[in-house]
Subunit: 313 residues, 2 copies
């Protein structure tokens, strides 16, 4: 591979002159400039970015750490797409790496990007998939320790409110419930996500808050735990039916759960939405492919917690 020294020799100038021509940071006579460009062309020269970065003490690179095990998530692709677009606009190189399936995988990935001297690092905290999820304190410690900015997505860090971007799950989850109440429902059942997960806890909280604020008494027999997949929604809904729970509306942790619940209701000949109003969450792409689109979905289109939106379809 040709180096800058090769180019300078071929052009009969100093290395520094080649550097100046290529960077355009100094006045160079047209004549030598052409000499240099010709040599660059002939040698098919490309600067070594590693050497440039080391010398300039900056890489013009943003690091992005994506979670492990998220191949099924519809968010991942969107996240990458948006980050790439913003990086392009800012003229930065986006260096993406995925967390490995090992202890401290997340921290290791962040450090790997810092060790490669990214000017800043973005970390998407996936509360669901990573078995080796980084906890908030560790993330906060990292932010304090690292020589470059670390921004964490999908996780609230009390010590570093300006270094994190998170969803307001409590608020987001209560919107559809408020809507149902507004429609006159009082017997509203809820199929939660896996309650060991914070997101699921927070959304359940939103459901409870909405009922409380409306003066509707909480009925624990109307709440069942699902697993965030359609199969969990199916069995959870069956549980509700078996215990003869009375409800006119059913709110679900997410759309997949709602799909499962829909199947269970259909099997039990309960008409949706005539007998039971069904509502999901996420505006999941899967909704486009349902034969029967009998429920609506609340969704969250923006990574910023201020932008939650709700559409009843």
């Amino acid at each position: 591979m040709a180096t800058m020294l090769d180019v300078s020799r071929k052009a009969g100038v100093a290395k520094s002159t080649v550097s100046r021509v290529l960077s355009g940071t100094a006045k160079i006579s047209e004549e030598t400039k052409q000499l240099v460009l010709k040599a660059v062309e002939e040698l098919n020269y490309r600067p070594n970015v590693l050497a440039q970065s080391l010398s300039k003490q900056e890489t013009n690179t943003i690091g992005l750490v994506i979670p492990h095990g998220s191949s099924t998530s519809q968010y991942l692709g969107l996240l990458i797409e948006i980050c790439q677009e913003l990086a392009d606009k800012a003229g930065k190189f986006l260096m993406i790496t995925q967390v490995s399936d090992e202890e401290n995988g997340g921290v290791n990935s962040i450090r790997a990007l810092v060790d490669r001297r990214c000017d800043a690092v973005l970390y998407y905290n996936n509360s669901f998939f990573d078995q080796y999820n980084i906890n908030g304190d560790t993330l906060s410690d990292l932010i304090d320790e690292l020589p470059v900015p670390l921004v964490v997505m999908n996780c609230y860090l009390p010590r570093h409110p300006n270094h994190c971007v998170w969803y307001d799950h409590v608020y987001g989850a209560r919107i559809p419930v408020d809507y149902l109440i507004q429609q006159g429902h009082t017997k509203i059942a809820y199929i939660a996500g896996p309650l060991s997960q914070r997101t699921a806890q927070l959304r359940l909280q939103g459901y409870e808050d909405a009922l409380n604020d409306a003066g509707i008494e909480l009925d624990s027999s109307l709440i069942v735990e699902g697993d965030r997949y359609s199969s969990g929604g199916f069995s959870a809904c069956n549980q509700l039916l078996q215990r003869k729970a009375e409800f006119t509306a059913l709110c679900c942790f997410n759309d997949l759960t709602a799909v499962g619940a829909l199947h269970a209701l259909q099997e039990n000949h309960i008409a949706v939405p005539e007998q039971v109003s069904l509502i999901g969450f996420d505006n999941d792409a899967v909704l486009d492919y349902l034969t029967d689109r009998d429920f609506c979905s609340a969704f969250c289109t923006c990574l910023c917690h201020a932008c939650d939106e709700f559409v009843a379809g």
Copy 2:
């Protein structure tokens, strides 16, 4: 940020000694080793990977270029996941970057990774999404020119058969058709993908080959073009029905197309599979969420064209 020089001074040894302790490439007395490690610890020292790479003339890094606009693709996440896993096993760092939405975006991304001295680069050619798709000749030229190996996925390069991994779409697409023929069907309709795309052409070819080899005459009125989405499958199927085409089986470019076709058949009160056998392609995750799973899917689980599989469900 502490450098190796800082560590060496703190430990009272030479820079080279610190390097040797950290790399473990030389015998070092236990005493100085401890001195060095203590200094490393106290200074919270981390080696600069850029400097290491420049000095060692290798980065131990594999580059992966993923296509632009593929946020909706189920393959992307899986591709990343598998590459990451393999890189981990090999002890390599996987540097991922996404193609920008601009002219020469693909080539630029590949070069960006080479300029960062990746030891090898993987490029996933996405025939559907990239409007600025790299053509085969350009890719072959790149392979010849680049100082590191470039491997292209999802594209066959005649000049570099050992630098590409591709799907055998013709073969893959004929398998379900062969199956239908074997079941006794002779009137088999086909909803193609967008025929401006190579993948769609090749799969249609597979359909035609299967019929030819079985001695069944091709009937162009049984072939309609879709758009690879369910809406295209829906309208394509309606076209077939409007022209009163007679068929006992319907084969589709992919599963989304088949989902659309299913809706159209249902609307026209045509029972699946009693009156029409329906078959898709991909084993798309969307199948798990259908209320009526009345068709089966051929799928391709492996990136290697030798591993196509078929399951009739």
